[in-house]
């Protein structure tokens, strides 16, 4: 490869990276956490004291619970969910329109319907949306669109990064030169993480362009390729929504869920259903969406099928893993989705994606660091030109403060908003508004703080903040365990969240100590030097 070509791609890599890096950091950090969304949901959901064992019922009782619920609570007709538990149990719940509350229904000993209303926190959902939009304001579709464009830059950064690294790949790959030359060490670490997780990053870059910009792509394809018929095709093939072909005046009574599950089992014997979502129950055209998992397949969202709950006929089984319905196009589509979400292979892949996501966040952080490091003025080179002490370039200071504020603000904000899901449970009315307020307050104040204090001192203080907010997560459970009268609780099945947060807090504390030492003793010409922190 010619050296002038490499220089061109080095410039491409630098500028695409610096523009896209911080948004990608947020997306990857929040995305890694989102791999455990279901566990986080359980962590913020309080156990119900009075009905501790009665919330679930045997699957055989499900038809009675469903029937009584639909009669007594018309709000459940729009959509209710039957979640399958262990050992043939199930639970039924729904959200009354536009509320963040979830109502659970069960039968008491006399066979009468009992309901229980919980104000659940949607912290996990908030973190997931943060992952998809990087928290960009303006609504979900704006955030997704921006991330689609960011991902185009990310794709460019990947290609150009590989081109730049190619000539010295063999020499540099496994050489992590830990030593005096800190920039060399960071570059080696950036390269080795980037190359070793390259397939993961290629998957993410391509899929996020598809997710973020598919509206635009579809609109153009509709005109150029499909002559305006694409909308009709997409509606007919929508695997989530359909209208069952109910006969007018015909029966609208639902089959027992066991029969739905039996129909699914017949098509896909190895598929393990987890929940059944009924839409429009009690009226013609109702559907039931069966979601589950078969870890042997690259299945979209683990795999799912849409059925008619009145007749038990399949409406769409294209994404049911192991069923013969799906053609090669559906299988390919499944694979694209599964590779992004890691919804295959079970726990090993889930953990693998978690660590690859964190490694990705490190990649973007280290990239910004290298940008800053190569732009700071070296003391010996510039000393002559500087009369009143050393002044770093404005751009290097700006990026250093922004990098520290955004990355640490995001980490602290996510920890704080997750912890609030437990600390504030039952104490506030509108939990989702609180989640947004807490995250954005911590995030924006952190950025402001980093600019106010300079990157060096700011990073030490913000690492302390990240440590503290992350400790709030296990602390809530410890308080709930020792003093249940506080209204907090400890749920043994979600202890992984507490342990994970404690380990994370330990890592942040270690970084806090190391950073504090570097700021105190580091080189005077570094943007990280404490003495220069406010010298803009």
């Amino acid at each position: 490869m010619r050296s002038d070509v490499i220089r061109v791609y080095k410039t491409v890599h630098t500028w695409t990276g610096i523009v896209a890096g911080l948004a990608l950091f947020i997306a990857f950090y929040a995305g890694a956490i989102t791999m455990f969304k279901d566990t986080l949901d359980d962590w913020v959901t309080p156990p119900s004291p009075a009905l501790e064992h009665a919330q679930t019922f045997l699957l055989q009782q499900a038809p009675a619970v469903m029937e009584q619920t639909l009669v007594a609570y018309p709000a459940a007709r729009r959509q209710f969910t039957l979640r399958l538990g262990p050992a043939g149990t199930a639970s039924l719940s729904w959200r009354p329109g536009g509320q963040s509350q979830r109502v659970t229904a069960t039968l008491n000993a006399d066979g009468k319907l009992e309901t229980h209303t919980q104000g659940t926190s949607n912290a996990a959902r908030f973190i997931d949306i943060l992952h998809m939009t990087a928290g960009i304001p303006g609504g979900f579709s704006v955030g997704m669109g921006v991330m689609g464009v960011v991902s185009l830059l990310y794709g460019l950064a990947l290609v150009s990064g590989v081109i730049v690294l190619l000539p010295s790949l063999v020499k540099d790959l496994f050489a992590l030169r830990v030593g005096k030359n800190l920039k060399r060490m960071w570059l080696d670490a950036h390269n080795v993480v980037g190359i070793l997780s390259l397939p993961f990053h290629v998957v993410m870059a391509l899929s996020v362009v598809a997710f973020g910009l598919n509206d635009t792509i579809f609109a153009v394809q509709d005109r150029v390729i499909y002559s305006g018929t694409l909308d009709a095709t997409m509606t007919a093939q929508n695997p989530y929504f359909a209208k069952a072909p109910g006969e007018p005046g015909g029966s609208a009574s639902l089959l027992p869920p066991q029969q739905i599950l039996a129909a699914v089992k017949q098509r896909a014997p190895e598929f393990k259903p987890q929940e059944l979502s009924y839409r429009g129950a009690g009226a013609p055209g109702a559907t039931v969406f069966v979601r589950g998992d078969d870890p042997r397949y690259l299945a979209r969202s683990g795999g799912f099928a849409l059925l008619d709950p009145v007749t038990g006929r399949f409406l769409n089984a294209q994404f049911l893993p192991g069923a013969a319905d799906g053609n090669a196009w559906s299988a390919a589509t499944s694979a694209f989705f599964a590779l992004h979400f890691g919804s295959y292979g079970g726990a090993p892949v889930q953990w693998g994606y978690f660590f690859l996501g964190l490694a990705g966040a490190f990649l973007f952080y280290s990239g910004n660091l290298l940008w800053i490091e190569s732009r700071r003025k070296l003391e010996r080179r510039e000393a002559a030109a500087v009369t009143s002490g050393l002044k770093q370039r404005r751009a290097a200071y700006f990026m250093a403060a922004l990098t520290v504020g955004v990355t640490l603000g995001c980490i602290a904000g996510i920890s704080a908003t997750l912890a609030a899901g437990k600390w504030l449970n039952g104490r506030v009315a509108d939990m989702s508004a609180w989640h947004a307020w807490i995250y954005y307050t911590v995030f924006l104040v952190s950025i402001a703080w980093a600019f106010l204090r300079g990157a060096a001192r700011g990073s030490v203080e913000l690492l302390a903040l990240a440590t503290g907010t992350t400790l709030l997560v296990p602390l809530a459970s410890i308080v709930g365990w020792l003093a249940p009268s506080t209204g907090l609780w400890f749920e043994p099945s979600t202890v992984g969240v507490d342990v994970g947060a404690a380990i994370a807090a330990g890592c942040f504390a270690w970084m806090w100590r190391t950073t504090a030492r570097r700021v105190a003793a580091g080189r005077r010409d570094s943007v990280w030097a404490g003495a220069l922190a406010v010298d803009k």
Binding site: V5, V209, Y226
Partner: protein, 101 residues
């Protein structure tokens, strides 16, 4: 292949090359997805073919954008990518004409 010395270094032309890559890459992605729709087995509206056709656009788009910086000048980037687009959409028109059932 001419010796390296005779080949002039790639000029900068950042804006021109970038725009050529973004627009030309998107166009080629759409043309490629159209060829996929008409030249592969099955009707254009067979289950989920439209999904694969959409997913084909990002790799082509990013690939062409990345390659656009290889051109020696912005003008050359526009000429080559413009030509490739004309060829691509001409093939798409032919494919649509002969293979639409």
């Amino acid at each position: 292949m001419r010796p390296a010395k005779e080949r002039s270094a790639p000029s900068r032309d950042w804006l021109s090359k970038t725009l050529a890559g973004v627009t030309g890459g998107f166009g080629l992605g759409i043309a490629a997805s159209g060829l996929l729709v008409f030249l592969t087995p099955g009707a254009p509206d067979v289950q989920n073919k439209f999904q694969v056709a959409m997913w084909l656009v990002p790799p082509v788009w990013i690939g062409v954008m990345s390659a656009s910086f290889m051109f020696r000048s912005g003008l050359r980037a526009w000429a080559w990518l413009g030509g490739a687009n004309i060829a691509g959409f001409a093939m798409l028109a032919l494919a649509r004409h002969f293979f639409t059932r």
